[in-house]
Amino acid sequence: MAKAFGIVTSCSGRKVKGMTDYRPVGAFNFLGRFRVIDFAISNLSNSGIEDLQVFLSDNPRALANHVGDGRAHNLNAKRGGIEILFSEPNTLNPVYNTNVRAFMENLVAIKRKTQEYVVISSSSAVFTAHYDELLDAHAAEGNDVTLLYHKVTEADKKYGTCSLIDLVGDKVTGIRPNMLEESDANVFMDSYILKKDLLVELIEEATDISSKYTLADMINAKLGELKVVGVEHTGYYAPIIDLQAYYDANMALLDPKETAALFTEEWPIYTRMTDSWPTQFYEEADVTDSYVCNSGTINGKVSGSVIGRGVHIAKGAEIKNCIILSYVEIGEGAYLENQIVDRYAKISAGVKLVAEADDPGYIRYRDKI
């Protein structure tokens, strides 16, 4: 039995223009065939952490059915699996939708776990992390809390809603909101390693102090008492904090080198299988520099794009630097540039939609244009 269980948190209240009206960030389609939460769950599963609690909040349907009991993500049903936990979004005042509140509502389920440690990961960022090694180091070094961070150079422009971490050596000296004031910074990845009993203590104490306290706030308040260590994460890291971040995160992976770094054979990213069939390319198809999922038909021009499952692109249509989500239909001669087209949308023949790469357009779920 592994010595840790995992918690995958939701990001209740995070808004990504249009898209979060229909599902939480964890359920966003990523690179055509994945969902953002697949990365968090696969990281834990590949690390041998087989017993997971997945927190759901707003619009839980898509995620509840996607993660199921954990089989799709290679979790051994006997040694663990996925337990889905719900927290009710406080619609009156979103400031109270903290992760501490979600934990508190499910404290009995957390307390019932028999593993000594817990690894907490966010469902709304794309990255890989070897928690098995991090956990061993955490235990060996006698840390109270290990936090993951990623060094960035554009903290003044991106990562707006992320927290930043201050460090002296590897010791965390502060966790604070990103005020967009500095460019070089350590972005906190919302990943924690700590003992289960400490987590329970922190949750209970945070609840006593303030209903607005998050787990990070609580740890920040305890930096004097606890040994809190930051570990730098390197490689691909994309927190999906807004539509631009979502667009950029997909587009970055059209570079085969980035893809090769994120998707390696010994660290598979699991997702739910759909029994799809290969995509049919017709005579007038002209596809370059793109990812194309199964079950589609393509008879138009596609470049620099991610084409989801079951997408139909008619003759003469052109798709340039777009993310086309599943089951979208693109009519003859339509022209799309720098667009994110949500599931089941229909773009009529001849429609022209152009945006800039630094402000991509968004076509709503099931929209007809």
Partner: protein, 379 residues
């Protein structure tokens, strides 16, 4: 379908010698098809979709690959309670020596204890190397309505084709009155598809007699069906219309792949109400590189194309390098075609690597070239 109504047995057969080198390492039913499938996915998916939940797969030549592939009944949803896919190989029995199957009927006889353990009312006999979609539940319904001892699925063929098939002669009520194997002058154009439903108690009795008959070939077509006819049992023909292909040769396997490129392709793998299931893998979407030039093609996830592809079927994990050209060809699983190589009218077997600039196959070859071993580059 009720629990014991019908059990299926797939005759997955031997080494498939007509498929030459393709079956050196994998048994014939495990041969790849259609970009991401294996041949055996078709009878297994048909069973799953028809509600036939227990399937025995009979194979003489045991391959680790086929066994471990088929044993995961989950692939086709055949892993519910009382469901399962079981690989049945020749085995030691308390009352007999070790024996390999002597014929198609013998393969069933040798596994009577397996069948008995489910005590089915009817037995469905299938072949492991046909590509088609068929609702066996409807065939069973017909079999029961007709109160038949055996129901044989038949397909109308041309008079010319009829000379290459087992042909069923029927009366106006679809009752089979006679049977001819590859007749020179066919009396009917209804070809047997090698798909039978038998009343199990009747078949069981017949098999027990046939077993000890020294003159029998222990074969359904040669012995069991003629005996049933001779005994005046009711045999009926069940007419099937739709796509059906025996992929027992390289040419027919290639053709069956090419059929998928047709706009009006009858096989219709993109029917969500009758999906063909297969062992799926966690791969990326197809990556189409900056130098790609794809015209008519069938391309699955997990492939990597940076060259020219025209009128070809590409399989999961296949790679086409920059400047390479694939025409009228089938690249099976994990094939690598390096930069500048040209592949024409060829079927390239799983995992084969075609080196830089190599030229394989030709546009005017009569037969399709099977490439089963790595081809060196020409630098």
């Amino acid at each position: 379908m009720k629990r014991n109504e019908m059990l299926a047995m797939i005759l997955a057969g031997g080494r498939g010698s007509r498929l030459h080198d393709l079956t050196n390492k994998v048994a014939k039913p495990a041969v790849s098809y259609g970009g991401k499938y294996r041949i055996v996915d078709f009878p297994l998916s048909n069973c799953a979709n028809s509600g036939v939940n227990v399937v025995g797969v009979l194979t003489q030549y045991e391959s680790v690959l086929l066994n471990s592939y088929v044993a995961k009944g989950e692939t086709w949803g055949l892993d519910t309670k009382d469901a399962g896919v079981y690989v049945l190989t020749p085995r030691e029995r308390a009352d007999a020596g070790l024996d390999v199957y002597r014929g198609t009927a013998d393969a069933i006889t040798e596994n009577i204890d397996f069948i008995d353990s489910y005590n089915p009312e009817n037995l469905l006999i299938l072949s492991g190397d046909h590509i088609y979609k068929m609702n066996y539940a409807k065939m069973l319904q017909y079999h029961k309505e007709q109160n038949a001892a055996a129901t044989i699925a038949v397909m109308p063929v041309t008079m010319e084709e009829a000379t290459r098939f087992g042909i069923m002669i029927t009366d106006e009520n679809n009752r089979i009155t006679d049977f001819e194997e590859k007749p020179a002058h066919p009396r009917s154009t209804l070809a047997s598809m090698g798909i039978y439903i038998f009343d199990w108690p009747k078949l069981r009795e017949l098999l027990m007699t046939d077993k000890d008959d020294p003159n029998s070939d222990h074969d359904f077509g040669k012995n069991i069906i003629p005996t049933l006819l001779a005994n005046n049992e009711k045999l009926v023909a069940y007419k099937f219309e739709g796509y059906w292909k025996d992929v027992g040769t390289i040419d027919s396997l290639w053709e069956a792949n090419m059929d998928l490129l047709k706009d009006d392709n009858e096989l219709n793998l993109d029917d969500p109400t009758w999906k063909i299931y297969t062992g799926d893998t966690t791969v990326l979407p197809a990556y189409i590189g900056p130098n790609a030039n794809i015209n008519t093609a069938y391309i699955p996830q997990g492939s990597h194309i940076d060259g020219e592809v025209d009128s070809s079927v590409i399989f999961t994990g296949a790679t086409v390098g920059k400047g390479a050209k694939i025409v009228d060809s089938v690249l099976m699983k994990d094939v690598v075609v390096e930069e500048g190589a040209v592949v024409t009218r060829a079927l390239v077997a799983d995992g084969v690597k075609i080196g830089k600039g190599a030229v394989v196959g030709s546009a005017d070859s009569k037969e399709i070239l099977l490439v089963a071993e790595d081809v060196k580059g020409v630098e």
